[in-house]
């Protein structure tokens, strides 16, 4: 039911939504790299890379994987209407095959839309963690639908 979906009003600064854990495989790293980022350090387990210290996942792959986990864990049980952009993305640590990656979404703040009364913006930090190490994050403002006042006809006068 639409009422069970998370709306703008349900979000408050300080909340945290865990979005699951995924163990990245070498096959997934190579499959993503072949399609979007075909560099040796993402395709060849024997590759050398001075900065990454060898074979590692594409940073874009971490974003796409985290997005899938956030859609499954949060957005598809909400009234998400998408985001107009990202403030920043940081790829902080190389991620390798076999790493166990957890995704968490933190609510940084909320702001009702001044021009569109049916929606509001929720500022989020979406992070990927390997144990207690934050390997990647992005910050963004996602639009969520507000609860319509006529959806609560049982509220009595007064």
């Amino acid at each position: 039911m639409a009422d069970e979906l998370l709306h703008f009003e349900d979000f408050q600064a300080g909340q945290e939504y865990p979005c699951g854990t995924h163990v990245l495989t070498a096959g997934e790293i190579a499959e993503f790299a072949r399609e979007f980022d075909p560099q040796p350090q993402h395709l060849d387990p024997e590759a050398s890379s001075e900065i990454l210290g060898g074979y590692a996942a594409s940073g874009w792959h971490l974003c796409a994987l985290a997005m899938r986990m956030i859609v499954d864990g949060l957005f598809n049980r909400s009234t998400s209407m998408g985001a107009p952009g990202l403030d920043e993305v940081q790829w902080r640590k190389p991620v390798r095959a076999g790493d166990s990656l957890s995704v968490k979404v933190e609510v940084l703040g909320t702001r009702a839309s001044s021009s569109r009364p049916d929606r509001g913006f929720v500022q989020l930090r979406c992070s990927m963690w390997r144990k207690d190490e934050r390997v990647m994050f992005w910050t963004c403002s996602v639009m969520f639908r507000r609860r319509a006042t006529e959806a609560h006809p049982s509220t009595g006068p007064g």
Binding site: F36, Q39, A64, M67, L86
Partner: protein, 155 residues
């Protein structure tokens, strides 16, 4: 090309990509299965009034085109001073207009700024302004990319 030699301000067309209902839905089923990216009927009732591409799809096509552009440059004889391009992140990414089936976007890159990257002194950080334009010239997507480029080795 070493970090010191990269010219700033030159705008380069890196390539074009046509979004179709098929590739929009296939991408989103895998990475961003929100109703307005995977279900034309549900999308018709969304604020977008129809199917739109995942913003991550628009973003990843940039990387795909950039890698193909670089490979073509090397094939045409450009010298390569480093094999791997590594980025610590990006900033100011804007999905300005919905990307719909049938749209062809042309992506451009313009090196804009050089910065030090103290944790890796053998490299410098190159920032670039990137845009994707629809066929009528409207900018529908933009962001600032950041890439670590090897500095000229000191003698």
């Amino acid at each position: 090309m070493w970090f010191e030699d990269v010219p700033l301000g030159e705008k380069t067309v890196i390539g074009s990509y046509t979004f179709t209902e098929e590739n929009i839905v296939a991408f989103a089923r895998k990475y961003d299965p929100q109703p307005f990216h995977i279900d034309a009927a549900a999308a018709a009732h969304s604020p977008y009034g129809g199917l739109i591409a995942s913003g991550w799809h628009t973003a990843l096509v940039w990387m795909k085109l950039m890698m193909a552009y670089r490979q073509a440059q090397v094939a045409a004889g450009a010298t390569r001073t480093q094999e791997n391009y590594v980025s610590p992140g990006l900033r100011d990414l804007k999905w300005l207009k919905p990307v719909r089936p049938g749209m062809t976007l042309t992506y451009t890159n313009q090196a804009s700024q050089k910065l030090d990257w103290p944790s890796l002194p053998a490299y410098g950080l190159l920032e670039g302004n990137n845009e994707a334009l629809s066929e009528d010239g409207t900018v529908v997507y933009s962001f600032v990319n950041r890439v670590l480029i090897a500095r000229r080795p000191s003698q």
